[in-house]
Symmetry: C2
Subunit: 227 residues, 2 copies
DNA sequence: TCGAAAAGTCAACAGTGTGTCGATTTTTTA
DNA sequence: TAAAAAATCGACACACTGTTGACTTTTCGA
């Protein structure tokens, strides 16, 4: 799954039928992406340099401009690559499973994606805060996931009386809030020192949290006197 | 509340007794901060320049280095200033109010803070993604809010059987998740075009969401067959 | 399989912003 | 009011960016 032969972004000489041998340029493009992901282990995206990437790949700096307009362009492509991979996992979720299994599966897929491409998703958040245009791109990527889950919730809402996202502004809004909750929580977890156990705890907590967002609580909220 | 005479960050000649007349340097420092907040309306923090700030304030570029080590240092101070202001609102929350009012009040305070210092909090998120050290600083600021709410929830948990954060990993973790949910949701709202109505909707949705995180849902979750 | 078109490569240049130094002026304070 | 502290600035060295135009290699169809 790592080095496949399909190309995602708006590469030079991109759209070619799948399975065909890659052009030299396409191979190089992937090398650059790999080098970037590699370097992101050490430094923030802000600290990437065209120079550094060029050197890592073994071409001149100006050659790099042949492939990407800027280092942010590189980061964008990297994010797109990792997100697409994660979304494939979403598509593989069993559509007929009970809602809670569906949610647990989605959370698990998200977690594994983060684990695998930690540095890329950290960079995604970084990138998304730089320019409105970049924020929108990240928002769009998130939309794919939000939409996918929201569709399922809509169905569930119609079928299952114990599911009611109305107070959160509807299924869409509820899932939106939930997804950003997950994104941000993973971001905060993966951007600091932690162990595997904490990761599992976080997945469990987020799964429970997401469920709670969708089900009304057990008590009717009435004002209670203070002690 | 805007131009007070206390100074927050590690300014040159900071700690002076409150109420005293500011030194020239302290005034200038505030000017720089104000200029930065002003300029952030136009551009991302990444696009701030020492040059631009210096010019706006009317000093030479190198003079600016007298006050701040870098433009990120400026941003940090700005974030600290706005966060402190918001936290004061938290402290003013009526401690004896019912939980739901407490939460609604906290959400309202957060919302107003965002509304007032939108560009600063957007910059905070941007800044926090640049360097581990900056991420930690933002995390610490969030901790103040998380800790404040979590303390209240702990109490509530002990008193009120309908409050149970256990499945989310305890009060602390539940509030942590909730706060990041709020932070990210506001970030996403305020970083795009929207109207006042949508802001109110978001506040309502987040308030409802936060409550749901703390109360167990009404159905015991049992596997349901698919149709 | 050959040759033209397409793809890929690079050195050199011009530009923008950074951060530091030491010398100088202004403000503060005792 | 004069010494100390604070504030200011010009000039320098440097790191990274993005562009241009000439050159080399690869690709692909006749």
């Amino acid at each position: 799954m790592a080095d496949r032969e399909t190309v995602v972004g708006g590469a030079p000489s991109s759209r070619r039928r799948v399975g065909q041998k890659l052009r030299k340029g396409d191979r190089r493009r992937n090398e650059i992406l790999d080098a970037a992901e590699e370097q992101l282990r050490d430094r923030a995206a802000l600290d990437l340099t065209i120079d550094g990437l060029a050197e890592a790949v073994g071409v001149s700096r100006s050659s790099l401009y042949f492939y990407f307009d800027s280092k942010w362009d590189v980061v964008d492509a990297l994010v797109e690559r990792a997100s697409a991979e994660m979304f494939e996992q979403y598509l593989a979720l069993p559509a007929t499973a009970p809602l809670e299994d569906f949610l647990a599966g989605a959370l698990e897929a998200t977690y594994l994606g983060w684990k695998r491409h930690r540095v890329v998703f950290l960079a995604a958040a970084e990138r998304s805060s730089h320019a409105d245009e970049a924020t929108d791109r990240w928002r769009e990527i998130m939309e794919r996931f939000i939409g996918f889950i929201a569709d399922r919730i809509e169905v569930e809402f119609a079928l299952d009386p114990t599911v009611d996202p109305t107070p959160l502004g509807g299924a869409r809004r509820a899932v939106e809030i939930g997804c950003w909750m997950v994104e941000r929580s993973f971001y905060m977890l993966f951007s600091r020192e932690h162990d595997e156990a904490e990761e599992r705890e976080m997945v469990a907590a987020l799964t429970a949290a997401f469920e709670r967002l969708l089900h009304p609580d057990s008590v009717s909220r009435r004002p209670r006197p203070r002690t």
